[in-house]
């Protein structure tokens, strides 16, 4: 059952003029959250902006005694609500509903985990990487951004022994170009008998490319989709994704309930 709390802002760390990490005191939500799940945040009280916005749980925050005290989100300023969240100050209260949605299915060794992140799509992979590490799964993060200045938390993933494969569109760090290119090469050179699970999150174009690449190489792939979402609980039917049903036809599936993590090969990408 989801929990709604008026969560106190513990910290709001600006990573750049666009990106920030907002830490919220929400022990009950933190305690119940699994990698890949999301929360619905209302950026301000009152009617404008009106609706909550969905955010992947980025980090689980812990107290000195190891108990879960809250969560953080990784957000990028793109509109009215994200602008308000960017400007939030410690002590502010933000309505936080969660945890919501279906989490990632986490693999076990000897299967390797290859995470593919584009921009703010890095968000669900911090907690996933921790869970993979706890299970001893060998992990790689393919991380694409516009430029070096938009790459964050690299040390966090390195500390979890995650191998990093970086791409930037302007070539200022790592390989120049899109993140799916090195994914494709690695999949091409990997032995068919060596199992790997691909996890992808990012802009729609990148997500579709990652999914198609995984499917072409006959590898399982879980994508975390982002849709405009009204409620997060299955009430409004806004956040649908076309998915192939058992009858072979395409059906609109609510990504808040069936997702946000969905099997890439069941989504109709066109």
């Amino acid at each position: 059952m989801p929990i709604d709390v008026a969560a106190e802002v513990i910290a709001n760390r600006h990573l750049s003029s666009e990106y920030h990490v907002l830490a919220l005191a929400a022990p009950a939500i933190a305690a119940a959250s699994a990698p890949g799940q999301f929360v619905m945040l209302k950026a301000s009280a009152g009617h404008d902006p009106l609706l909550r916005r969905p955010f992947s749980v980025f980090e689980i925050l812990h107290g000195h005694d190891g108990t879960r005290t809250g969560i953080s989100i990784l957000s990028k300023r793109i509109g009215v609500s994200t602008e308000l969240l960017y400007r939030a100050r410690p002590g502010d209260r933000i309505a936080c509903l969660g945890p919501l949605g279906r989490p990632f299915t986490i693999v076990e060794p000897p299967t390797e985990a290859w995470m593919v992140a584009g921009g703010v799509g890095l968000a669900p992979f911090a907690t996933l990487a921790e869970s993979l590490r706890a299970r001893g799964v060998r992990s790689t993060l393919f991380y694409g951004a516009r430029s070096a200045a938009d790459l964050f938390y690299l040390d966090f993933f390195r500390a979890l022994d995650v191998e990093l494969v970086i791409t930037t569109e302007d070539g200022s760090a790592g390989e120049s170009g899109r993140v799916v290119a090195p994914l494709d090469r690695r999949l091409s050179s990997r032995q068919a008998a060596a199992p790997v699970m691909i996890y992808a999150c990012g802009p729609e174009g990148m997500l579709a490319a990652a999914a198609r690449t995984a499917i072409r190489h006959h590898r399982p792939c879980q994508v975390s989709v982002e849709r405009i979402m009204g409620c997060g609980l299955g009430g409004c039917y806004s956040c649908v994704v076309p998915m192939r049903g058992e009858d072979g036809g395409a059906h609109h599936v609510r990504s808040c309930l069936a997702g946000p993590v969905l099997a890439a090969d069941q989504i109709v990408w066109d």
Binding site: D4, L50, G234, Y237, P242, H252
Partner: protein, 312 residues
């Protein structure tokens, strides 16, 4: 303190209904809300067969509101009866089913199936969805069409028949009267206002259907006015809705003449809103010495304000 209200032969334990299209089939919210604590749950609109609805994006936020064009995605009435109704019954929900049709015959057939199923308490006739061509709006925008749908369904059911009216007409009250003349037990209003939002950078509409229905606090004053106008025109109960976000908003509709109210968009923002609304209503009744909430219905005081101004 008595919060119960009557819609025809049906007694609701309180005036709060979850609005159609804003609460799934009700079962989605069973973990969050005690469904039996609501006056009723109005299901998502149902045709005879399932529909996939419009592609995303289906909603966009607007100042103090939102625009939607879902396109009446739904599982069809038979799957509703088989898969959803048993759980709603088990949770003691009072169930209003929103009935859709592309033809008069379809309204009749869907209504007949629901009347034969155990656990349906009322039929809300959707003759007002602004977002699909064949969604009944052709009935809801014509006085004769409204009369015809209501009388046809009236003949095949004993359940309360409650047409849901569109605000996208010149005179809503005349449609309430047509519904009353055709034997409706109540009317519900308003459905959403036809509206649109354009992204000026791309010059593209923000939702796939180009136009959609506007809801939320932005429309509330217009909806209150329409309820007030209908109250002057018909005797049957009115179920009012449009932008209710707190108890005062709900009370405003009741004072304007609504017997019960529906809450939609605000449930998206706060799925725990129901107990807050009930607490607010009880608090108001206490402060105003109102023993029964039904005593509040239509009590708007429109006497001349001359004396107030002179004395102040």
């Amino acid at each position: 303190m008595d919060l119960s209200v009557r819609i025809g032969a049906l007694t609701l334990k309180n005036p709060l209904l979850a609005a159609s299209g804003c609460f799934g089939y009700g079962v989605e919210y069973a973990d969050v809300v005690d469904l039996s604590s609501l006056g009723g749950v109005v299901s998502k609109g149902l045709f005879l067969n399932g529909r996939e609805g419009h592609p995303a994006p289906r909603i966009v936020e607007t100042p103090a509101g939102m625009l939607n064009a879902i396109g009446l995605q739904g599982i069809g009435v038979r799957r509703f009866v088989d898969e959803k109704l048993p759980e709603l019954r088990a949770r003691n929900a009072t169930v209003f089913v929103n009935v859709c049709g592309s033809t008069l015959d379809e309204y009749v057939e869907v209504s007949r199936i629901l009347s034969d199923a155990a656990g349906v308490d009322a039929l809300e006739l959707n003759i007002s969805c602004p977002n699909i061509k064949e969604g009944g709006i052709q009935f809801g925008c014509s006085l004769a069409g409204t009369f015809d749908v209501v009388s046809a369904v009236r003949k095949v059911t004993r359940l309360p028949v409650i047409p849901k009216l569109t605000p996208n007409v010149t005179d809503v009250a005349s449609f309430a009267r047509a519904a009353e003349d055709a034997g409706a037990d109540a009317v519900s209003l308003v459905n959403t206002f036809l509206a649109m939002v354009i992204d000026v950078e791309t010059r593209r509409p923000k939702i796939s259907n180009i136009v959609g229905g506007l809801s939320g606090p932005a429309i509330r004053p217009i909806a209150v006015r329409m309820v007030y106008e209908c109250r002057q025109t018909v005797k049957i109960p009115i179920i009012g809705m449009g932008g209710i976000a707190d108890a005062r908003d709900a009370l405003e509709f009741m004072i304007a003449g609504a017997t019960a109210v529906q809450v939609g968009t605000a449930n998206f923002v706060d799925p725990f809103i129901w107990s807050k609304l009930l607490d607010g209503m009880r608090d108001y009744m206490k402060r105003h010495n109102i023993e029964s909430i039904s005593d509040l219905i239509g009590t708007i005081d429109v006497r001349s304000r001359d004396k107030e101004w002179i004395s102040s």
